[in-house]
């Protein structure tokens, strides 16, 4: 599938191209003249320099002409920018929440997702904020970007014109996994979007979450429905920023195959070996610092105090099922 474009992509490309052509022509002119002078007036060929001190007319010319050119550049840059900042009234608003190191998209009807699903040919406004540090929401294909700042709400808008998925990057450095703070904007046909938005079964938020974490896992003794609920709890509480369920290391140990394994932990600075039974998992989530798993120096897992008892049990069951 080709990368989709927005109503701004072409405007950007034209202005960019014009500026690049100007830059190349200017550069080549300056360089050519410079090299010509150095060759033509080489001391062997031209032993007596002429003591020219300057030329006022020239100075005026090469002040005024560039001044006019840059004023023009400013103007076209400004015009394009104004388009980017004037959100059409009918825009469909989606809230974006950035945090270290993932994006969550919250729709008007309460639907949440980790990918940005949008209908084609519709004006979309993103209303963005951050829960922790500065991030920046960047869709290269649409040529739009705006920082996502804690304590304030910033915005951008676009109108996708073709369907398909496009990359979303975090463009403002935000710590260890900045380069992995990625997502996708998925531009859909109107019907497909409506049925997703209306909540057809196979496209629940949890399913969307799943694609992001791309788990390769085997679960036993756990229904599909329970599993989706558990993953949603993990997702909502930011556990996936540091843990995977496919055995690969992230900031913290993978949750796969954890149950009943021997864990080397530090308790008050003393090393101990503990078998990861159910009680251990509970402690590890509620009070992670008490028994600190060796080998993750410096990464502090936040205690999960927001979990309700039933949610806690659910994820512990889920971890146990990850063989």
């Amino acid at each position: 599938m080709t990368t989709p474009v927005s109503s701004f992509t072409e405007t950007f490309d034209i202005i960019f191209l014009a500026l690049v052509i100007f830059a190349v022509v200017t550069l080549l002119l300056i360089t050519a003249i410079m090299i010509y002078f150095v060759v033509r007036y080489n001391r062997k060929r031209h032993p007596r320099a002429e003591p020219i001190h300057g030329n006022t007319t020239l100075e005026i010319i090469w002040t005024v002409i560039p001044l006019l050119i840059v004023t023009g550049m400013f103007y076209y840059g400004y015009e394009g920018f104004r388009y980017l900042r004037e959100v059409p009234e009918d825009a469909f608003t989606i809230n974006v929440v950035g945090r270290m190191w993932d994006w969550t998209f919250e729709y008007e009807n309460g639907r949440k997702s980790d990918k940005l699903y949008v209908p084609v040919d519709r004006n979309v406004k993103l209303s963005m904020t951050s829960l922790d540090v500065n991030h920046s929401f960047f869709i290269p294909a649409f040529r739009v970007k705006e920082d996502v700042v804690p304590g304030r709400t910033t915005y951008l808008w676009f109108k996708p014109q073709t369907v398909g998925p496009a990359d979303v990057f975090c463009a403002e450095y935000c710590g260890q996994r900045h380069a992995y703070m990625l997502s996708e904007v998925v531009v859909m046909e109107k019907d497909a979007f409506d049925s997703w938005y209306g909540g057809e079964a196979d496209s629940s938020p949890a399913a969307a979450v799943e694609t992001a974490a791309a788990p390769v896992e085997e679960t036993t003794g756990f229904t599909e429905e329970q599993r989706e609920r558990a993953r949603k709890v993990l997702w909502d509480n930011g556990c996936f920023s540091c843990h995977t369920t496919d055995g690969s290391e992230n900031l913290g140990p993978s949750l796969k195959g954890l149950f009943q394994k021997d864990r080397y932990v530090l308790v008050d600075g003393q090393e101990r070996v503990i078998t990861a039974d159910e009680a251990y998992l509970r402690r590890a989530i509620v009070d992670p610092d008490a028994e600190y798993v060796k080998g993750y120096d410096g990464v502090i897992m936040p205690p999960a105090d927001d979990l309700s008892p039933s949610e806690l049990t659910l994820i512990i069951d889920y971890i146990q099922s990850l063989k």
């Binding site: 020219i52 290269p140 294909a141 920082d147």
Partner: protein, 552 residues
């Protein structure tokens, strides 16, 4: 043609051999002689720079392929922070100003030293102490800072790494910069030789003087800002961190109010060097002396008003964005004027090629690319896309490395014979130039392309689409560095074993060519009476070399 002139030994009485109160290394680190201090800066700055170059190579190596190549993400983040902090605060900000400004500014205006020699020594000590604190921050506390050289809050407040000590190091370094600025401004105002009127001072001095004003006026803003970051970390005072009621955008404003003018601290002295080298090798006056001098002042002034272009996507108001865009375009004009005047200086000259001139030409070429890509980022519509991408990384390396870095080497090639009394061999320098020029463009041009494709900066990893240009870029870094090594080795050899240079190997007219190489302590036996304009090759040539080997 032979470069070396009269004699086959260095003058017995030069600033290196002068007896002082102290001996050994103390005769240097406690010296108040501006030339010795210049050499101290040269050695200390280049030592730090070589570390930062190695870090740069490591970063490029990591990026040669997606995924983990040689280091983990947290190490990579510490590496780019360190690379930036060293290159900015320990190399290019003091750079030409502290090394060549110290060594040559007094000589160029016919003075025996700077106005406050002891303050000058204190500046070097501040530099060393600040640098030491920054280095200490790597190995103590939570370890090497991983915030990027910009220390953006709230991340710099959240991270467990040792940011507090690092920013305090930057605070102390700031004093070095402020004191140097103060010293140079006073020196230029008060110590010019008789007849050295304002419009006779060499353009390097004009540039250095403009830079000094920025150092004095802008650096305190940085000092306060980083101090507040330290306080924010230690006491959560709630100035910048929204979690305690602060505003992260305020941090960015304050930071760039210094750090944008700082770009001009980095580039203005480089422009000054270029304005010295061109007339000497073209053997004719600089074209448009006043235009170049005033454009330095204009840059110093307008440079204050454009900091907002670092914040085009920050969430700052749209009104502020277009105003800063307009002002940014205006600040391009004085730089353009300089470029035109430099090229015009070559017109009808009697041009002698030399490595210094070749590096100067490369400067004009690379700096122009930096400036022209700057226009793309000054225009709001295009800037929104390129902001915080590799386009910016490419752009500022064209300005800072292609500009200041190449001019730095040009300055060293031009003035080395004066500083050390000896000449290097031309051939390794030409080859080194070739390697550097090719390597540089292979390293940084792909970054412009990557940025245009959407690759964000400070990324440890990237999607496969970006792979090809990263490979090219990394190969470029190897070519570039081989050129740097070649040049460094030749300088190292020449400083002891080079041919004796004589007083005026290039046939220059400014005052440094009127004194022996290396110059004696206090430079002039008799303070010169200046009766000719700068770059006046009919009247300004020193007597001795008027008929010397290098004169046609």
């Amino acid at each position: 043609m032979s470069y070396g002139s009269a004699g086959n030994a260095l003058p017995l009485n030069n600033f290196r051999t002068t007896k002082t109160r102290y001996s050994g290394i103390f005769a240097w680190i406690f010296s108040t002689d501006h030339k010795r201090i210049g050499i101290l800066y040269l050695i200390s700055i280049l030592s730090f720079t070589s570390v930062a170059i190695v870090i740069g190579l490591l970063m490029r190596l990591e990026l040669i392929a997606p995924g983990e190549t040689i280091v983990k993400p947290e190490t990579y983040n510490a590496l780019f922070t360190l690379h930036g902090v060293i290159m900015i605060f320990l190399f290019v900000v003091p750079g030409l100003q502290a090394i060549f400004g110290n060594f040559f500014l007094p000589i160029l205006i016919g003075a025996r030293d700077v106005a406050f020699p002891r303050l000058n020594l204190l500046s070097w000590w501040c530099y060393m102490i600040g640098a030491f604190m920054a280095v200490l921050a790597l190995f103590t506390g939570g370890g090497a800072p991983d915030t990027g050289w910009t220390f953006y809050v709230p991340y710099s407040v959240r991270t467990s790494t040792n940011v507090s000590l690092a920013v305090l190091g930057v605070f102390v370094l700031g004093f070095s910069s402020i004191l140097t600025g103060l010293n140079f401004v006073t020196t230029v105002h008060r110590m010019r030789a008789p007849g050295m009127s304002w419009f006779r001072i060499p353009l390097f001095v004009w540039a250095s003087y403009s830079t000094s004003w920025i150092q004095i006026l802008a650096t305190p803003v940085l000092a306060i800002t980083v101090l507040l970051v330290a306080f924010e970390r230690l006491f959560a005072i709630g100035i910048f961190d929204p979690a305690s009621g602060g505003d992260p955008l305020m941090y960015q404003h304050l930071f760039w109010i210094y750090s944008h003018p700082a770009v001009y601290i980095m580039i203005l002295p480089a422009m000054g060097v270029v304005s010295e080298i061109l007339p000497t090798f073209a053997r004719k006056p600089i074209f448009g002396y006043k235009a170049i001098a005033f454009s330095s002042l204009a840059i110093a002034f307008f440079g204050y008003l454009v900091w907002g272009h670092h914040m085009f996507t920050s969430g700052m108001s749209d009104t502020a964005r277009w105003i800063f865009s307009l002002l940014t375009f205006l600040v391009a004009i004085p730089s353009a004027i300089k470029v035109f005047n430099w090229v015009a200086t070559l017109y009808k000259g009697a041009i002698q090629m030399s490595p210094a001139l070749l590096f100067t030409m490369a400067f004009i070429f690379l700096f122009s690319i930096g400036g022209l890509t700057g226009l793309i980022q000054g225009a709001l519509a295009t800037s929104i896309h390129t902001h915080d991408t590799y386009f910016v990384v490419g752009h500022f390396h064209y300005i800072i490395f292609g500009g200041t870095g190449f001019a730095f080497i040009a300055a060293l090639l031009y003035w080395f014979p004066k500083m050390y009394g000896r000449l290097y061999r031309m051939k390794p320098m030409y080859i080194g130039w070739g390697l550097m020029f090719v390597g540089f463009n292979a390293l940084y041009f792909p970054m412009l392309i990557l940025g245009w494709m959407g690759m964000p900066r400070r990324y440890y990893d990237y999607i496969p689409e970006f792979h090809f240009w990263h490979v090219v870029s990394t190969i470029g870094s190897w070519i570039l560095v081989s050129g740097i090594i070649l040049i460094a080795v030749e300088f190292f050899r020449a400083r002891k074993h080079g041919e004796i240079a004589g007083d005026n190997p290039w046939g220059g007219v400014t005052l440094e060519w009127h004194v022996p190489s290396p110059p004696p302590h206090e430079n002039f036996d008799v303070i010169p009476q200046v009766t000719w304009d700068t770059y006046d090759f009919e009247h300004g040539l020193p007597e001795k070399t008027a008929e010397g080997a290098s004169h046609p």
